[in-house]
């Protein structure tokens, strides 16, 4: 039913063309794969590949010294529409890619791939790269997680944030010991310098609003253990789930918006519990000193250096290194969205996204998953709305509910069409409109089934009222009918 089309260009650099090409360059090829989610739902992915050789400018760009420079030079020569990919194949012996690295994935939508002997082997490698850069079968199955039979998906699959029209991000500074530490954090500056570029890039996906607060005397729910060897306090991994709860009651959230909230907490431990480190499952201290919870947010522990001289006056003034803090928080934000770089094969080299926070292809990743999720949600919502209306026959549909339903249906059809043409951006926008309309229709306050009485309740209410009244009325009607019939008969007799 849903076809995901990825337009791809495979560009062969000089000396990298395999010998067993079926036709001379340039030519087109299509690879289709079916991702079956359950017995009735399946999604087909279709990679439309254009094979060609490099132009003069591209050759010059590929002659750069490092892969990163080549990627930067190739960027203006590429097709950069959302959802498309460009693969540059370099000769097997090329020194552009470091030793042992077969694939270099850039920040945008292109990759440099080392040639392999035959076309089939090259296609296998290309398939790996394209799946990494667009979507994998498991990512699509996770987006459709409520249709997958229970138990088939791994536990990781249902962790990512659900597709929503907006998200609220709250940064909180927790200072449980204001007598010892006066903590200053330039959150506004940090948000402007580090967070805004990332959110601007993600603005295609959803609306983000950011706020911040400072909480005093907010303590963690767990008492850390003192470890003599490292003379520090430790929080073990299995006590972490209980840390969040007492704090959460104090975090608050904006009363006006209904968007999911992502909380990022920075905890400055009390002087009596400093320094505080988080231990992972093997007992080693965690380098980031932070942990996160799926669909909720993240917490980072910021240790304050003990004062050099024992006569230091309290409270100590602490200036938080916002860059270090934001490196962790933004990494947690990526993980909450499901953008992880953990499962990359060792022969792949991924370029870091820098201050933008995520590469263009990671943005595409999100858009593919969210578009599929939106389309699935809309179809489920409209189907269940139709079932509700079937069940309660006398429900009244207001005009605006009806128009929202029509708009939702039109938008979702447009989204599916755009996906089959390979226009990811337009498909995503259409799917967002479809979700908005269908939710507005489904959750309209007038559709409460309580307001529409089932037939047996109507009988139960009206029969006790009308039956006693009806008895004398029917009897007298019968008497009148009998008398009229008798009068009609008599004149004929009386002749």
């Amino acid at each position: 039913q849903v076809q995901l089309v990825v337009p791809m260009a495979v560009v062969f650099g000089p000396g990298s063309v395999p010998e067993d090409l079926p036709r001379p360059l340039p030519f087109r090829d299509v690879q289709e794969m079916e991702i079956s989610v359950n017995l009735r739902t399946s999604v087909t992915s279709r990679y439309e590949m254009r094979y060609r050789s490099t132009t003069g400018q591209e050759e010059a760009a590929l002659a750069a010294a490092t892969a990163r420079e080549a990627d930067a030079a190739l960027y203006p020569l590429q097709d950069t529409t959302l959802g498309s990919l460009t693969m540059y194949v370099v000769p097997e012996t090329s020194s552009l890619l470091p030793q042992g690295i077969n694939v270099y994935v850039g920040k945008h939508r292109s990759a440099l791939v080392r040639a392999v002997g035959s076309l089939a082997a090259l296609q296998a490698r290309l398939r790996e790269v394209t799946q990494l850069m667009s979507f994998t079968a498991s990512a699509i199955a996770a987006a459709l997680s409520d249709r997958v039979p229970n138990g088939q998906l791994g536990p990781d699959a249902r962790r990512n944030l659900k597709s929503s029209l907006g998200y609220e991000i709250t940064f909180s500074l927790l200072n449980p010991d204001p007598k010892s530490h006066t903590v200053d954090w330039d959150i506004e500056g940090a948000v402007n310098r580090y967070v805004k570029p990332v959110l601007d890039k993600l603005s295609l996906v959803a609306n983000f609003s950011v706020d911040s607060q400072i909480l005093y005397y907010a303590v963690l729910g767990v008492t850390p253990r003192y470890d003599k060897e490292s003379s520090s306090f430790l929080l073990s991994a299995h006590s972490l789930p209980h840390v969040i709860n007492p704090v959460e009651a104090r975090l608050g959230s904006s009363a006006a918006s209904l968007y999911p909230v992502l909380n990022f907490l920075l905890y400055v431990p009390e002087r009596s519990h400093s320094p505080l480190y988080i231990q992972d499952k093997d007992g080693a201290p965690v380098s980031t000193n932070a942990f996160h919870s799926p669909r909720w947010g993240g917490i980072m522990v910021y240790n304050v250096e003990a004062p050099a001289s024992p006569q230091a006056s309290f409270p100590l003034h602490v200036d938080v290194d916002m860059a270090r803090v934001m490196e962790v928080f933004l990494a947690q934000l990526r993980l909450l969205f499901g953008l992880s770089r953990e499962e990359v094969p060792p022969e792949f080299l991924l370029e870091g996204p820098g201050n933008e926070g995520l590469a263009d292809w990671e943005l595409d990743h999100l858009l593919w998953a969210h578009t599929v999720e939106n389309i699935a949600t809309v179809s489920t919502t409209l189907t269940s709305l139709a079932q509700l209306l079937d069940k309660i026959g006398n429900i009244v549909i207001k005009d605006d509910v009806a128009s929202e339903v029509y708009r939702a249906v039109a938008s979702v059809q447009r989204a599916v069409t755009k996906l089959s043409l390979g226009h990811l951006h337009a498909a995503f926008q259409a799917s967002k409109e479809a979700v908005t309309s269908s939710e507005r229709a489904f959750f309209d306050p007038s559709l409460l089934h309580l307001l529409y009485f089932p037939d047996d309740q109507k009988f139960a209410i009206y029969i006790p009222l009308f039956l006693p009244m009806a008895v004398p009325i029917l009897l007298s009607l019968a008497k009148i009918a009998r008398e009229t019939r008798q009068r009609k008969k008599e004149p004929t007799k009386m002749d």
Binding site: P155, R193, P197, G252, R295, V328, R334, L335, L450
Partner: protein, 300 residues
Amino acid sequence: FQDQAEQFFRSGHTNNWAVLVCTSRFWFNYRHVANTLSVYRSVKRLGIPDSHIVLMLADDMACNPRNPKPATVFSHKNMELNVYGDDVEVDYRSYEVTVENFLRVLTGRIPPSTPRSKRLLSDDRSNILIYMTGHGGNGFLKFQDSEEITNVELADAFEQMWQKRRYNELLFIIDTCQGASMYERFYSPNIMALASSQVGEDSLSHQPDLAIGVHLMDRYTFYVLEFLEEIHPASQTNMNDLFQVCPKSLCVSTPGHRTDLFQRDPQKVLITDFFGSVRKVEITTETLSLDRDVAGVESK
């Protein structure tokens, strides 16, 4: 490593909600408000924050003019436990507790002007605890002495919730006369239900307090509260233990439960899966490397 990971993800939920409803008004129904507040207190103690609890109380007992101990609601005649506390947040109070509002909260068909605290903003990974108490009969529960909700309407509301995936798993507890009739008609998956009495039986109240002059709590919820006071956020007690609470010798009525719609084995379901809020956490091992010499984006 493997079983810890399994432990973390066993139930598949990422957040917890609680909808606690007391449906009766008038001073002599003090025990129903005390029931609801005891469950509220346990649920807060085990970690669910107020922002995730929808508390509906049909009448105000703590500040009722007939209350000899104002601003308190006690659960035991020795006045040991004041379940009203000092940070209670009632979301729907007094005449706002109606069948319509209750169904609106469950199905989400709420007028747009409703504030966030009055909404059930659950998603497909939410475990919801729904506790109802009041006066009931075979197939219905009385609201405010003037209207009723039937078991069919309740089952339909849960089905609407399931259709829109507004819950991952749902635990329904009801403490009324003939409570088991309220869960007979459920047909949506992932629902577990407990009731204080079977069809044809009455649920009885616990002891009266002579100073306050009314019965303080119902038996079933009294023993459930005693059971919950032993639970702490890290405990591994499972649902089978909750099913054993209040046997016929103590409760006089026979508590019932229904697990056929629930996919997991009740032995493996922790009490804290519904009554507490134990979050799944992961250690953050990645960082993003930021270029520190970047000028800020001008704020508009």
